[in-house]
Structure formats: structure tokens, C-alpha cells
């Protein structure tokens, strides 16, 4: 997934001023909650704080490439967070496979409500893009339009991705939820 709105033409760097760090903090501030939630949802077994910090570091490096005409700061930052979470998750999977190929949901999740745990397990088995769509829309709380902006695709694609994901989740959870049909 693309994580930056990098233009084809050379970007004009933003001027660096002594207030840059403070300006960046101010700029990021309104998006921090959503970034935190997404990091926690997408990389719960990794350290979400590290994911968030890495996402902020990458955003800091790429800040000059941000083009507000192509999306909001929040959607841009969430795309970066999703990419960092994915990298962290893949890295962790590789480490786990070296230790135990059967590794699954960590023990720490056992304290969760049983239904939520079943749901989380089912979500974890979705494809990456289905997971991202579910997490952004239902758990981070973005609208379908905002989810589409983060995922760099059309609203229709998000809707179909969510529909497919729900279908797979319904099938996976049928033993616990019962079959309404």
C-alpha cells in the first residue's frame, strides 16, 4: 500500500525554521488519537507505541512531501501508521515463525471478552486490506470516505472490501453466533 502522496515532480521542500518541531507537533496533534488507535488495532502484539513513534518519525521525514490537495493530514498520517504497523507485524511474524510455527493469538489477549476475542481472531485471518478497512471503519471510527482516502482507493472499493470482510467474518463466527438463516 502506498504510504505517501509523493508527487511525480520534485517537491518543493518546506522551509525549515526553528519552530519546525513545534509546528509538526501542532500539526500532528489532532490526528494522534486516531493514529494511536490504529497502531493498537493493527499491531497489538507488537509494541503499538513503537509503531506510533516510527510512524511519526517517518511522517517527520516525509512531511515536506505532504500535499493537502490530495488528502487530509489525518488520512496521510493514518496511511503511514498502517504501513508501519504492517511492517512491524510482518517482522514479528517472521520472528515467531523461527520460534514456533503454530504461534497464534498471545496470552495477553485472553483477558478480553470472549466474543471480542473470537472477533479479533477472525479479523486477524482476513486479508491485509480487509483488516485495514475493518479497523479503520469500525474501530478507529472513520467514515467510508475517510477510509477510502487512507487506503488510496475509491469509496466503492472500500464498501465492497467491507462487504467481503463481513461475509468472511460471518462465516468464521457462525459457530459462536449461530446461523440466522
Amino acid at each position: 500500500m502506498q504510504v505517501e502522496f509523493e508527487p511525480e515532480q520534485p517537491a518543493v521542500p518546506k522551509p525549515v525554521t526553528p519552530a519546525t518541531a513545534a509546528s509538526f507537533a501542532t500539526w500532528v496533534g489532532p490526528s494522534l488519537l486516531a493514529m494511536t488507535r490504529l497502531a493498537r488495532r493493527l499491531a497489538p502484539e507488537s509494541d503499538p507505541d513503537d509503531v506510533l513513534q516510527d510512524a511519526l518519525a517517518r511522517a517527520w521525514q516525509k512531511w515536506h512531501l505532504f500535499d493537502e490537495s490530495r488528502g487530509t493530514a489525518t488520512t496521510w498520517l493514518l496511511a503511514i501508521t498502517a504501513d508501519q504497523a504492517r511492517a512491524a507485524r510482518r517482522s514479528r511474524v517472521r520472528r515467531l515463525q523461527l520460534i514456533d510455527d503454530t504461534a497464534d493469538v498471545p496470552e495477553a489477549a485472553a483477558a478480553q471478552d470472549a466474543h471480542d476475542l473470537d472477533l479479533d481472531r477472525a479479523i486477524a485471518k482476513l486479508s491485509d486490506r480487509q483488516q485495514l478497512a475493518i479497523q479503520l471503519h469500525y474501530f478507529v471510527g472513520l467514515s467510508v470516505d475517510e477510509t477510502a482516502a487512507v487506503m488510496h482507493c475509491s469509496v466503492g472499493t472500500v464498501k465492497s472490501t467491507l462487504f467481503d470482510a463481513r461475509t468472511r467474518l460471518r462465516a468464521a463466527l457462525r459457530p459462536t453466533l449461530g446461523d440466522p438463516s
Binding site: M1, Q2, V3, E8, P10, P13, V16, P18, A19, T20, A21, A22, F24, A25, V28, L32, L33, M35, T36, R37, R40, R41, P48, D49, D50, L52, Q53, D54, L56, A57, R58, W60, Q61, H64, D83, R86, A87, H115, D116, L119, S127, D128, R129, Q130, I134, Y138, F139, G141, M151, H152, T157, T161, F163, R166, T167, L169, R170, L177, P180, S181
Partner: protein, 402 residues
């Protein structure tokens, strides 16, 4: 209510409950640590502090000579100093022209050292090539001039408005910064092993560690700079239905990053207009017409789905090679960015290459984060990076995969 609506409601309920139990961030976001180096903050903190302390000890032990990047040029007089002839007198190895943001500050007393929390400070320092400087102590802006020598910065009168700040920690850091950036101080870049950290030591008062963020230089679009050997370090597939690669859902979205020695995929571009692609399982070649920022690739590409039994991550391998082959066919755009990486883009998909360094040349092949951008934009063409049909190199580029 149909079953999809039921699932929708279930997810909304679960999401709402989850958000209610995760109302906000408890993470102490460290904006001052948003330097070009990413990674574990705690580890880096310890490493820098240890490295800084070790350098101080070393400086004392060898008579005050710091180990690291120092230039030997007087910014005020323009006179060359007695030291390293390969110095960069216009930037002092990056001391000037870089926006330095505070990472840590330490003050010393006669009996102990006291490390202040610089996490909440926005202190910065920007030394200009003419010897003037601007910045902030985290509370107030400051400006003045400084004389630069190989090992020392000598600050002239520093203009700082005498306005206090509400936050006591900010005030403490600001007071420490103000005290340290007075008179003569020693300076060093790369004290912690990188090129983005600046340590300033004021004997008997304290020290400051900054991280630097240089404004990115414009991308290189000169066709001659593409010649050489490159190794794939990153790929980014976003186009809907683009190519056969992508994630498991087949929707055409995938990203990846190379390990420290890359994916084992090489791209060799010769000055005569031919190119070769070396995947881990097979090689390919063709002709390329390169213009400013654009390139047209013409070649016969093999099937990216060829099995590669010796490779564990075969699916990723096939996805990646298919993506590379699809991009290196027909018209693309390209640029060499400020970090020296070659980025080739087609239809929203991008492959990123770093200059290739063979094991013979520089130990392990370098990744994008480790490879220094070539000083003149050129890349090496190691003799050991040859291609042979069907006998792909390993990650070191030296042996067949099977």
C-alpha cells in the same frame, strides 16, 4: 435485518466498546526524537548517552582531542586549518546548514551530573555558513555569531529575550542550554556512530546532544546517474489490479522493505543503454531509453511465477518479481532522491533501489538506510555483480539459489 446488517451491527458494537476502553493515547509522544534515525527510543537514548560519556573520557585521555567528524576551516577568516584536507569547509561536515533539534541535555556540577528531560523541549540550533546562528533554547529564540574551528565553537554575545516559560521543565532545559551555549565549546558530529548527531560540550557546565534534519536536496534526474548497479530495497504496489503481485487478497496492494542486505534483486544499467535484472531465481535483460525523469524499458521478461524452491518466502518472491518485471516494461518515471535511492514508478507502483555494494567491496550489502548517497550521484559497478542466465545470485549476489 439481513445477516450482513447483523455483522455490521456486531462490528459497530465491538468498535464502540473498544474505543470506549481506549479513549486516548497514553503514549508520551517524543517529538524531539523525530530525527532521521528511527527505532527504539530507549535503546538509542542509552546508546547516545554511553557514547557521549565514552567520548568525553576519550577526550580527556588523549589530551582533549575528540574522536569524530571535525573540519579544519575557519568560517570567519576562510583560512584552512591544519587538519583533514578532505574536509567540507562550506558545511563543516554538516555542522552548518543543518537544523539541529535537541535530543538530550546534561549539566554537570562539582559532584555529580544531572540529566534533564529534554523530551518536552523544542530547543534547536541552526548554524549558518557565515558563522551566524539562530535557534531556540526551548523557551526563547536566540541568535548571534560563532567562530568555528576544527574542534570548537566560540559563541559571541547571544541574544536571548529574558522571557520565562510556564513549564518548569522547559525552563530548566532552557537555562541549561543557555549556560552551555556560552563562550567556547567543543563540538563533534557522529559521536554516536551516525552522521545526524551533534554533541556540544561545555567543560564544567554540561553538554547537549542534537539530532539534525537537513532540508532534502532536490532529486537527481540526470540520466547518466542511473548507470551502475542497484539493489532493490523497497517496493510499493498500489494500483488496483495492477500486475499479478500484491497482497494475499489479490486486490493489488503490497509494500515491502528489504532486509539489511536487500531482497537479493539487482538492477544493472549500462551506459550503452542495456539493462539486466537479477532476481533471486532468474535473470532478465533488455534495453532502456533514459531521459530526464523518464525511462522506457524494452525487454523480454520471463514469467514471474517461476517456482523458486530454495526460497522460503516463495509467494513474496513471486509477487515481488512480478511487480518488478511489470514496472520495468514500457514507460516509467524515475528519480534519485535525496538519500541516493533510485525510485522507478509506473502506474502508481514504485520500486526503490539503493546503490549496490558487494560483500567484496564493503562487507554486507547495504540497505537504503545504511547506504550513503553517492557523492556525485554515481553508483558502483562491481565486477562481482555479473549476471548469468538461470543461475541467480544469493542475497550476496555471489551464488546460485539452488
Amino acid at each position: 435485518m439481513n445477516s450482513d446488517d447483523q455483522m455490521d451491527d456486531l462490528l459497530r458494537d465491538a468498535g464502540g466498546r473498544w474505543r470506549a476502553t481506549n479513549p486516548g493515547t497514553t503514549h508520551d509522544v517524543d517529538f524531539d526524537a523525530l530525527a532521521p534515525v528511527s527505532g527504539a527510543r530507549s535503546w538509542r537514548t542509552r546508546w547516545l548517552v554511553i557514547a557521549s560519556a565514552a567520548a568525553v573520557v576519550a577526550a580527556v585521555a588523549i589530551g582533549g582531542t575528540w574522536l569524530g567528524t571535525h573540519q579544519t576551516h575557519d568560517a570567519n577568516t576562510g583560512a584552512a586549518g591544519p587538519g583533514d584536507g578532505a574536509a567540507e569547509p562550506t558545511t563543516w561536515g554538516g555542522l552548518t546548514g543543518t537544523e539541529w533539534s535537541i535530543f538530550d541535555v546534561t549539566t554537570e556540577t562539582s559532584t555529580s551530573s544531572d540529566t534533564l528531560g529534554a523530551d518536552q523541549s523544542t530547543a534547536s540550533l541552526h548554524i549558518h555558513s557565515d558563522g551566524s546562528f539562530t535557534g531556540s533554547d526551548g523557551c526563547n529564540s536566540m541568535s548571534g555569531t560563532a567562530r568555528i574551528t576544527a574542534t570548537q565553537l566560540t559563541f559571541g554575545p547571544v541574544s536571548i529575550p529574558a522571557i520565562g516559560c510556564v513549564d518548569s521543565n522547559v525552563n530548566k532545559v532552557a537555562a541549561a542550554v543557555d549556560a552551555i551555549l556560552q563562550g567556547s565549546v567543543t563540538w563533534i558530529i557522529g559521536n554516536a556512530g551516525g552522521a545526524n548527531d551533534l554533541s556540544i560540550e561545555h567543560a564544567g557546565i554540561g553538554s547537549i546532544i542534537y539530532f539534525g534534519a537537513r532540508p532534502p536536496s532536490p532529486p537527481v534526474l540526470d540520466p547518466t546517474k542511473m548507470a551502475g548497479t542497484w539493489q532493490l530495497v523497497e517496493y510499493d504496489q498500489t494500483s488496483e489490479g495492477g500486475g499479478s503481485g500484491g497482497s494475499a487478497d489479490g486486490s493489488g496492494s503490497a509494500t515491502g522493505s528489504g532486509s539489511s542486505n536487500g531482497f537479493g534483486d539487482l538492477l544493472v544499467i549500462d551506459a550503452d543503454g542495456t539493462f539486466k535484472v537479477q532476481h533471486r531465481c532468474y535473470a532478465d535483460s533488455g534495453e532502456v531509453s533514459i531521459d530526464t525523469g523518464t525511462a522506457v524499458w524494452i525487454g523480454v521478461h520471463l514469467d514471474g511465477s517461476i517456482p523458486c524452491p530454495a526460497i522460503a518466502d516463495q509467494k513474496d518472491e513471486q509477487d515481488r518479481t512480478a511487480l518488478v518485471d511489470s514496472i520495468l516494461t514500457g514507460a516509467t518515471t524515475w528519480k534519485i532522491d535525496s538519500s541516493g535511492q533510485l525510485r522507478i514508478t509506473k502506474g502508481g507502483n514504485t520500486i526503490v533501489y539503493a546503490p549496490y555494494v558487494s560483500d567484496d567491496e564493503g562487507g554486507a550489502a547495504t540497505s537504503s538506510s545504511e547506504a550513503a548517497p553517492p557523492p556525485d550521484g554515481a553508483v558502483s559497478t562491481p565486477s562481482g555483480a555479473g549476471f548469468s542466465s538461470g543461475a541467480a545470485g544469493s542475497e550476496s549476489g555471489s551464488g546460485p539459489a539452488s
